[in-house]
């Protein structure tokens, strides 16, 4: 094989990406099988049926109550001599029942809401600040040292502070996602905007554009696909901080559930959850890549 030599065999290029998945699966199955031979009740490397059980537990509908309208059908009995007024049975309103919740759905809802809220905030701030820093040397000199310095503070080290100031509210988790992503995103946007070729700016002014127009209609527009790519990369640390925050202090969410079942060695639940997290992350990544390819085809190497 020579450096950069292309793969000739079509089957090889189609199957190769799956090879490692299959290897891991095989090794795990082997390990699980050996452990269960030693101890049939092993819980550390759950086998297929245990994993299926775990999935069932995660997706089981809990707390479902069908609506009961029966009680409302009984009309109120008027007071008579033998029954004091207090004993009158009042009409009971129809009970709508309870729709029930599944662990996995509630956790996904909670986690994704926090992720999207945190990222939206982070993206807004990063784009506005990064755009101005990249375009105006004034803001550049003002901000680079400051942002660089604070970008070295690991957000996980800020966790205790966040919990002190914001308690264990939703705001705390959103704040952690925000703090974990805003510095890298701002730096990324700043660098991308600085990459806009000088002649684009010269020519825009030479065609009579105002500074606002040059900033938003030319610099930013030119770099939107690059910024989307930076966002795609920033999703990775965002997930990390989300799960970390939920592991520590939450009442719902993927990280919370993982910590909850850890106590009872619920590996057969944790592994499906981890696979779910990985799949969602992968899908987000794919979605952004697809958006860039379809909405901004001109950004691909021409």
């Amino acid at each position: 094989m020579r450096v950069r030599e292309e793969i000739r065999n079509r089957w090889l290029s189609l199957l190769l990406p799956w090879a490692l998945f299959i290897v891991v699966l095989a090794l795990y199955s082997l390990g699980s099988h050996l452990k269960h031979r030693e101890n049939p009740k092993d819980k550390l490397m759950p086998n297929a049926s245990q994993l299926m059980q775990g999935v069932q537990i995660a997706t089981k509908l809990r707390g479902y109550r069908p609506p009961t309208a029966a009680v409302a059908a009984i009309p109120a009995r008027p007071a008579t001599e033998s029954t004091p007024a207090r004993a009158v049975v009042e009409a009971v309103p129809a009970d709508p029942g309870s729709p029930g919740k599944r662990w996995i759905v509630e956790d996904l809802k909670a986690s994704l809401t926090r992720l999207i809220a945190g990222m939206s905030l982070s993206i807004t701030v990063a784009v506005l600040v990064g755009l101005h820093m990249g375009a105006f040397p004034f803001f550049e000199t003002l901000g680079t040292r400051f942002i660089e310095f604070f970008s070295f503070v690991p957000p996980l080290a800020l966790l205790p502070l966040v919990f002190i100031y914001l308690g264990v509210s939703e705001g705390a988790k959103i704040a952690i996602i925000f703090l974990g992503t805003v510095f890298i995103l701002t730096q990324d946007v700043y660098l991308r905007i600085k990459e806009v070729p000088q002649r684009y700016i010269h020519q825009a002014y030479a065609r009579g554009a105002s500074t606002f127009e040059v900033l938003f209609k030319i610099c930013l527009k030119h770099k939107i696909p690059a910024i989307l790519d930076s966002i795609r990369l920033a999703m990775r640390p965002a997930w990390v901080y989300l799960i970390a925050a939920e592991l520590i202090a939450a009442s719902a969410g993927l990280g919370y559930r993982i910590r909850l079942v850890e106590r009872q060695l619920g590996v057969h639940i944790i592994i499906p959850y981890i696979l779910a997290i990985a799949t969602i992350g992968f899908l987000f990544d794919l979605a952004i890549r697809m958006i860039i390819r379809t909405v901004y085809p001109w950004s691909q190497h021409r």
């Binding site: 020519q203 030479a206 527009k221 950004s299």
Partner: protein, 290 residues
């Protein structure tokens, strides 16, 4: 001076130095209405610096002298000095037609209209597009190309789009920076013929920077040579200002005077070392024969 006789562009005593190094020293020339002035010179002599200053991209405190456009001092970039760069500046997210029309939108529409009066904004975009179609035709681009994206068309076509985008603003002067370098000879030929034809039709004033001397003599009504190889101190100056005597209606290249003029211009740009080296090589050839 009457309106018609006043030069469109005047450079008065332009000098530019970076620290101890003087790049331009007392460069001075003017471009009159309908003239096609070609600025040539050896590479590195400061043509690009000159263009930066004329285009208004250099801070006026960094250079000496003044640039006058249409009788007024001009310090900043403006649509009156529309510029077309060597590598195109075409926006990849707009179609060809929109790229041509964009200059009008940028210049004529202000921010409040764009945000608050969308209907008016749309109407003016449509008008700009109509005008852009006219210029599309002037540059001999086909109507079918109007909706193509920039990355779908060839380099020569991109140059034409860029020129159309500049001409649509009816600038006082069109600045062009080495537009044909990097293109293959056939495309260059086509582009040169087109540029000359467009200049004849539009009768606009052009300042054209190139290092291809044949191109300069073919296209220009006047050729200026900028060179630092002269005896009047450091920094480049205009060492030669030649009016091209050929008729604009016929191809002057077959004429023997064409070649003579090109040679004359080339020689004006030689440095002392160049001349010495040429003499040495010639001497050695003569001696080898003996």
């Amino acid at each position: 001076m009457t309106e018609a006789a006043r030069p469109v562009l005047e450079l008065k005593n332009i000098s530019r130095s970076y620290g101890a190094k003087t790049v331009l020293a007392e460069a001075e020339f003017s471009v009159h209405r309908e003239e096609f002035v070609c600025l040539v010179g050896p590479s590195g002599c400061g043509k690009s610096t000159m263009l930066h200053i004329v285009g208004g991209f250099a801070d006026h405190r960094d250079y000496g002298g003044e640039v006058w456009v249409d009788g007024k001092v001009s310090r900043h970039a403006s649509w009156k000095k529309a510029i077309v760069f060597q590598e195109n500046v075409l926006y990849p997210w707009l179609t060809v037609l929109d790229n041509i029309a964009y200059g009008l939108v940028l210049r004529d529409l202000d921010l409040p209209t764009q945000i608050f009066r969308r209907a008016l904004y749309k109407k003016q975009w449509e008008e700009a597009r109509e005008k852009a179609r006219v210029y599309l035709k002037k540059m001999h681009l086909r109507p079918g190309d109007a909706d193509k994206m920039i990355y779908e068309i060839s380099g020569g076509m991109r140059q034409r789009v860029d020129i159309a985008a500049a001409l649509i603003l009816s600038p006082a002067i069109l600045l062009r920076d080495e537009p044909c370098s990097g293109l293959d000879p056939q495309t260059r030929e086509v582009l040169q013929v087109l540029l000359k034809a467009v200049h004849r039709e539009e009768k606009n004033s052009v300042l054209f920077i190139t290092h291809d001397l044949e191109e300069a003599v073919y296209l220009g009504t006047r050729v200026l040579v900028l060179s630092q190889h002269h005896d009047r101190g450091p920094g480049a100056r205009i060492v030669k200002d030649i009016r091209v005597p050929f008729s604009r209606d016929e191809d002057p290249r077959p004429l023997p005077e064409f070649g003579k003029l090109v040679r004359e211009i080339r020689e004006a740009g030689f440095s002392r070392e160049d001349r010495a080296l040429l003499a040495e090589v010639q001497q050695a050839a003569v001696e080898n024969e003996d």
